[in-house]
Amino acid sequence: MSELTELAERAVERALATGAGDAEAYASEAENREVRVHGGEVESLTAATQRGLGLRIWIGGSVGYGFGTDLSPSGIEAIAARAVEAASVADEDEFAGPADAAGEAPALADLSDPSHGQWSPGQIADLALTVERTALEADPRIAAVEQAVYFDSAERVAIAASATAGGEYETTSCYAYLQALAEGDDGRETGLGFGFARGPAGLDPVAIGREGAERASEMIGSSKPASRSCPVVLDQTVAASFVGLLGNAAGADAVQRGRSPLAERLGEEVAAEAFVLHDDGLDPNGFATAPIDAEGTPRRRTALIEAGRLQTFLYDSYTARRGGAASTGNAGRSGYRALPGVSASNLVVAPGTSSLEDLLRQAGDGVYINDVAGLHSGVNPVTGIFSVGASGRAIKEGEKAEPVREFTIASDLVSMLRAVKAAGSESRWVPFGGSVSVPPLLIGEMTVSGS
């Protein structure tokens, strides 16, 4: 048994001894490194270790949560006392209770990359410098790189519980990104390039640098498009943002509390047939992949939208009990500081057969969108109605034309999904605001507000 699992088990024991009826401990430890470079120099190099534990306890139907970084015997005692005190304030909830035992966790391919620990600080700094240099050399109009960043993490998680088996796993991950600045006659443009892998050997710094340069320089000379309704092509990063919102809407918690545009739409037609969506906690390439979820239930693959219909919601143990369903292994948490709650794991949109060029041709005359802003302020999470800032390229005669920006696109999530005409053939993993694998999407019609 690892030391981390021992700590988690000790916390469960202490909680039961302090008055808890049931208890579940989540312990994690991580080693992180980060390099930031600017102007060909290393700006900062960070090395960090962190370790903490969160303890969820039940007294009758009341839940309490305590957490801390002091994992000495007295520290764990204090965490248990905090959790018990917290439960004394919470109201009874008839559906509250520990996760049910749900079978063996699946065997997964190794989620740790050996190159992770082997690369020296000098090597990862070189990687980040290569990202920056590539962007600067890719196009004469690239004036600077605001920042190029490399980050990696090795994390171990152990879950112990009074009612179920718990489990332990280890993952490594790393990413690099940059924000390139292009200088045009009438102002600056920025472009983001990024990549994600399990270890630094899996990153392509040249591709990341080029992407940032390309995204920045293609926006030079942009203007506002005319206001109208027209076909829209979403690139993978933009499609991923909307799919992330959809993942939140599919969470049973939002549904049961009447705060989701998908509430009461189970089995109904919510999308065009071209849009097929799974939640897949086991995809070997996803960065939310793990054998178990945040309360120890095995991860799995769940069809969310198939044949245009909403097939199921995503459940953790609480919402499953409340909804008379089984957990789909979708308990997530942002770390040991927070209670687990329903969240999507890896959201995977099935690729179609059209190349990006085909999608643009089918759009004919419209807008290609490669960035959206204000997604969190511009979307009504209850109704799914949104109006967000966007930028990208005009589509004219089936091809990308002049750059456009400072406009908004407006629709609602379900109407947008029903208007999906085609999914592109090239999927990409996008790591912002969740973990999403998605191809570009052609939307038949959307409101564009510009000049």
Binding site: Y65, V448, S451
Partner: protein
């Protein structure tokens, strides 16, 4: 001992700093922190999500030749601190540098009358029940109410190789209310918050009023029509309306963006960027405000910094490192989310000073326009100046009068243009609380202003 200096024993701190400089470096610093907090929520009229925790740890940084070497660890034992120092120094290859002996600063933390830790948790649950009750009784169409309570205490201590030893003891409380109104298929939400660098005394004066206000916003939106589309005069409301200034100007004045050329305000110091009627400040020492602290997270005292004086850009916002580069003093804006992060230039409480215009008169002069009372949030790219804001509560202005409410409006524009287009600043003024994210770090910030009018701005509506 005042503040949180007790976290760092001076002898241990000197040893840790010496170890951090073992392989060279021009500057070394240890930042120690103990944080604890309690959060709870009410939803479906049930108290839930009661979470209580405590964390402690330290970050050590060494500056050498333009590079920052940083390490952080959990725990505050001397062995933990020395481990962080060794880790930070491990990538350096120079000769030992010598730190100055420490001398303690006297710091007076913001006064807290009634520490929330002394108030029983049941009283906090009761407060949430009051909010819930108030929202639900605001109208038959209120379908749901949610509210949250949060308290946090951060004791911090900082010591560096220049001899500084300082500390602070920070307590913040904040409540938020959200209401959902429903009429047939129409569903609208409203939200309101109240927070401060204060103790439980913040809630002495009818805290449940924020729940009524959230409910009123949601109910108002039930009657809302589509938002207009196009360029028009826009009047922005006070308080959280200041988030517009925070995003479109404040971030661009943070010295790190300026130094990288990644700000539209680069090279504009001393120049006119707005009309003379506009003066603005960042003030980290406003008593009791959400974004206030006694010192920043590098030990520099917080201060009131005039950033725009009668339309001219007069100061940037500095942390230690960027101030040194410009050969000026830090403005006390070096902030970090916790010991797990490096300090970077951040706003504290940022606001447009009250002007001379009567709010009614500002609106009365508009034939066709838009009144943005509050925002759901916003985003800006400091390098290009492009911004976008979601309007949470907005109204049409027709023939000098505020008329029907609009839903789903978005304001889009460019900072420099919008700032210079401010042609009236109201004589009313108030502050609101926000959580600002930058470089992956979240810090509490205050935003404020009275009513402000922008002569022309793009409103992206829901009507094509």
């Amino acid at each position: 001992m005042s503040g949180g200096k007790g976290l760092l024993d001076p002898a241990v701190a000197e040893r840790v700093i010496a170890r951090a400089l073992a392989n060279g470096g021009e500057f070394a610093e240890v930042f120690a922190e103990r944080r604890s907090g309690l959060t709870l929520a009410i939803d479906e009229s049930r108290i839930e999500s009661v979470q209580s925790g405590a964390e402690e740890g330290a970050g050590v940084r060494v500056l050498s030749g333009g590079t920052t070497y940083f390490a952080h660890v959990d725990g505050l034992d001397p062995a933990d601190l020395e481990r962080a120092a060794s880790e930070a120094a491990s990538a350096l290859r120079g000769d030992r540098a010598k730190p100055r002996p420490l001398s303690a600063e006297a710091v007076q933390p913001q006064p807290i009358e009634r520490p929330p830790g002394d108030i029983p948790a049941s009283r906090k649950a009761e407060l949430l029940r009051e909010l819930d009750e108030r929202a639900r009784s605001s109208g038959a169409e209120i379908a749901q109410a949610m509210a949250s309570y949060g308290e946090a205490r951060r004791e911090v201590a900082v010591a560096n190789s220049e001899g500084l030893l300082s500390g602070d003891d920070r307590t913040r409380v904040r409540i938020g209310a959200q209401a959902v109104a429903r009429r047939g298929d129409r569903v609208e939400t409203g939200a309101e918050t109240l927070g401060g660098h204060r103790g439980f005394e913040l809630f002495d004066d009818d805290p449940a009023a924020i729940a009524a206000s959230a409910a009123d916003k949601a109910l108002t939106l039930l009657d809302a029509g589509p938002a207009p589309t196009g360029s028009m005069p826009v009047v922005v409301g006070g308080g959280f309306g200041g988030v517009l200034f925070h995003e479109m100007t404040g971030h661009g004045l943070e010295a790190d963006h300026i130094h990288k050329g990644a700000s539209v305000y680069t090279g504009k110091l001393g120049e006119a960027v707005a009309q003379p009627l506009l003066t603005a400040y960042d003030d980290g020492c406003m008593p009791g405000e959400w974004g206030s602290d006694a010192i920043d997270d590098e030990g520099a005292p917080t201060q009131k910094t005039r950033v725009i004086e009668e339309g001219r850009l007069v100061s940037l916002l500095y942390d230690r490192q960027h101030a040194e580069r410009d050969r000026v003093a830090s403005t006390g804006n070096g902030r970090r989310e916790s010991f797990r992060y490096l300090p970077i230039p951040r706003m504290t409480n940022t606001y447009i000073a009250p002007g001379e215009a009567e709010p009614e008169a500002m609106i009365g002069e508009i034939e066709q326009g838009f009144y943005a009372v509050s925002f759901a949030g916003g985003q800006v790219d400091p390098a290009t100046g492009d911004f976008v804001f979601g309007v949470n509560e907005g109204y049409l202005i027709e023939a000098g009068k505020v008329t029907r409410p609009c839903r789903g409006a978005t304001l889009v524009g460019n900072c420099l243009q919008a700032l210079s287009a401010i042609d009236a600043v109201g004589n009313d003024f108030w502050m609101k609380t926000g959580i600002c994210g930058k470089g992956g770090q979240k810090v509490p910030v205050g935003t404020g202003q009275g009513h402000v009018r922008i002569a022309s701005m793009t409103v992206g509506g829901t009507a094509a």
